[in-house]
């Protein structure tokens, strides 16, 4: 039985005209395959390993615990205060590294979204967003330099990625539009900066995947 909302003539027409919506280009098979190979090769080198997810999650719990500990330490309970402070001291170093790793993951995720958006904008020949992208690039550039100087920058592979990103962000922040932007995206494609960036962002639970980082 035909649903009262069905209209075969409309559906036939709609299917026909909807073919023009986001009509795909021919698949660039070789280009995508090369990117997959490059990304997998890089991933083997610079991936933040899965155990890190658990370590970061554990660190988040630990930090919360220390926070609660410090808060309760203000209460008049001397014995529990001493225990809390001792526990905090013994874990400070490990926490510090993990906090920087979390911050690095958040930053990398944000930068990936930014560069993807920038490249899409260049691809669509957008012309009105140059100032906005330059402003965002400057913001991210500041963070990139902070990351380079942080413990996260001690990891040579991550440092190499951060230096690549610094270069791209400097170019975007100083771009005069048009041809500059095309050259930047060409450079990004040649240096595989986006695949490297994606490879460095671990999949995992919310605290690590940086859901909502944007």
């Amino acid at each position: 039985m035909m649903d009262q909302h069905e209209d075969p003539k409309f559906e036939h027409w709609l299917k026909d005209v909807a073919k023009s919506y986001h009509a795909p280009h021919p698949t660039p098979r070789e280009a995508i395959w090369k990117r997959i190979e490059d990304a997998r090769r890089n991933k083997r080198v610079i991936e933040l390993r899965p155990w890190m997810r658990w370590a970061v999650a554990a660190a988040a719990v630990l930090i919360l615990g220390v926070g609660i500990g410090r808060w309760t330490a203000r209460q008049p309970a001397p014995s529990s205060r001493a225990t809390t402070v001792a526990a905090a001291d013994s874990t400070t170093s490990a926490q510090s590294d993990l906090i920087y790793q979390m911050a690095a993951t958040q930053y990398l995720s944000h930068t990936e979204a930014f560069l993807t958006s920038f490249r899409a904008d260049v691809g669509s020949h957008g012309t009105s967003n140059g100032a906005r992208f330059a402003r965002q690039a400057r913001d991210l550039l500041s963070t990139t330099r902070l990351m380079l100087d942080s413990p996260a920058g001690r990891d040579q592979r991550l440092r190499s990625l951060l230096e690549d990103l610094e270069l791209v962000l400097v170019q975007i922040s100083q771009s005069q539009g048009g041809h500059d932007r095309d050259l930047i995206t060409q450079g990004m494609n040649q240096s595989n900066v986006l695949p490297k960036l994606r490879s460095a962002i671990p999949a995992g639970p919310v605290p690590v995947r940086t859901e909502g980082a944007l």
Binding site: E11, L14, A18, P24
Partner: protein, 180 residues
């Protein structure tokens, strides 16, 4: 060689088999990514990410469903998550731009069918839009869509019906074209 043999060879580390598996499925993955994203660079990104995840997780593929169904589950997850991320980013920036544009009025020409259709499909809720594009444009069955999106087949049918109803209203100015 059938697909299960090909998959076994990929699991054993045969790179030629990886390429063969990629060649067998990449067109459909890229087409779906492009339909949903509407942008070649994003579609390439999503296709790349889909195959990387698929190769990494091939050990978890049990063969209960067809490989293509499993692969399209990964595709839709990658594309929809990726689009949400880009959308949030663009929305935040658009909000800033809107604040700058207060008081500026713009005149738009009457859009043609293609532009109106694009606008109407873009304005569909994400679930309706995805089901509509997969079913009516790319030819997936409701069973395939249900597995890929993790919903019941009936939900897929209902969403398609609602998507068509919304498009019918949005495109009512062009009713003469389908009535004749």
């Amino acid at each position: 060689m059938d697909e299960s043999q090909l998959i076994a060879r990929v699991r054993a580390g045969d790179s030629a088999a990886e390429r063969a598996l990629y060649d067998a499925h990449v067109d459909r993955v890229y087409r779906l990514a492009f339909r949903l994203a509407g942008d070649d660079a994003l579609a390439q990104d999503f296709t790349q990410e889909t195959f990387i995840r698929a190769f990494d997780r091939l050990g978890t593929f049990r063969g209960d469903a067809a490989f293509s169904t499993w692969l399209h589950t990964i595709t839709t997850t990658v594309v929809l998550n990726g689009l949400r991320k880009v959308k949030r980013f663009r929305q935040r920036e658009a909000d800033i731009d809107d604040a700058h544009d207060i008081g500026v009025t713009q005149r738009h020409a009457e859009p043609d069918l293609k532009a109106r259709l694009k606008q109407a499909i873009d304005n569909l809720p994400e679930g309706y839009r995805t089901v509509f594009l997969m079913h009516d444009v790319e030819g997936y069955t409701h069973e395939e869509i249900g597995v890929a999106l993790g919903v019941e087949t009936g939900t897929s049918k209902a969403q398609l019906s609602r998507a068509r109803a919304k498009l019918r209203v949005a495109l009512s100015d062009f009713a003469g074209e389908w009535v004749t």
